[in-house]
Symmetry: C2
Subunit: 128 residues, 2 copies
Amino acid sequence: MSVRQTKTKSLILESLQKSKQAISHETIQHELEGHVDRATIYRVLNRFCEEGIVHRVVGDDGKQYFAICLNCAEQHHQHNHFHFRCISCGKVECLQQEIALNLPKGYKAQNFNGVVSGYCDLCTRTDK
Amino acid sequence: MSVRQTKTKSLILESLQKSKQAISHETIQHELEGHVDRATIYRVLNRFCEEGIVHRVVGDDGKQYFAICLNCAEQHHQHNHFHFRCISCGKVECLQQEIALNLPKGYKAQNFNGVVSGYCDLCTRTDK
DNA sequence: TAATTATTGCGACTTAGTTGCAATAATAAG
DNA sequence: CTTATTATTGCAACTAAGTCGCAATAATTA
């Protein structure tokens, strides 16, 4: 199954690149001003994940967020970094710090999903 | 708003205690053999979380899992440990290792949610 | 230019979790 | 023990996220 280059895909990829953060399906849909169907966006995002150009994070709000793979496309491709989700402004950003995890004997890791939620610097000062 | 002791609550608490793991609403409902309403289970679990006797983990499957707070009831009460979710048998267990996280300046953590999914020892050997 | 088939839009569907409301039952007050 | 107060429960309806089947559209290849 080959891959085709389409306008929709390009737009979604742009959205992801422009925002240097992890964004939700909703954000993308909003940015595309409703010109693209919900289901399509989901499918494209899932495709990008398969292709390894994007990684998925599930927030502690139960929602999926997607972010461009930066320094891992060529590398091992395990994303052992955390994400910070701001409860106030809603942004989700990748934290640099890589985490070393000790799994019990015989356990095989497949997917790392680390999220901390709280208040980002801006919201801590602004909001209150 | 005070707290009342009810049969339902006791049963749910027992389920949580018996299973030394993080379990989903579904598991509890199953264990209670459908004698308790879905919504009630959710409400009780949320209550337990508020009271601080249980902590909630959101898996990378987007579902909520609940586990008794073991060595933190008296302590600081931040659960900086990871959870392992087995893709094959579905169990979710708390890992001991505590994680030290460096947040950017000014960021305030509120909730730690770490999950690694993969195959547990048993499933690695059994399943295939 | 035509044929192949990945992609898209639409609508219907699933699953997790929440909420309003009336009925029930723990607990406190008398 | 009886009554009053109100936390808790069950039910049904609802929301929101995400998926899926199918027919129509449009990249790519021949």
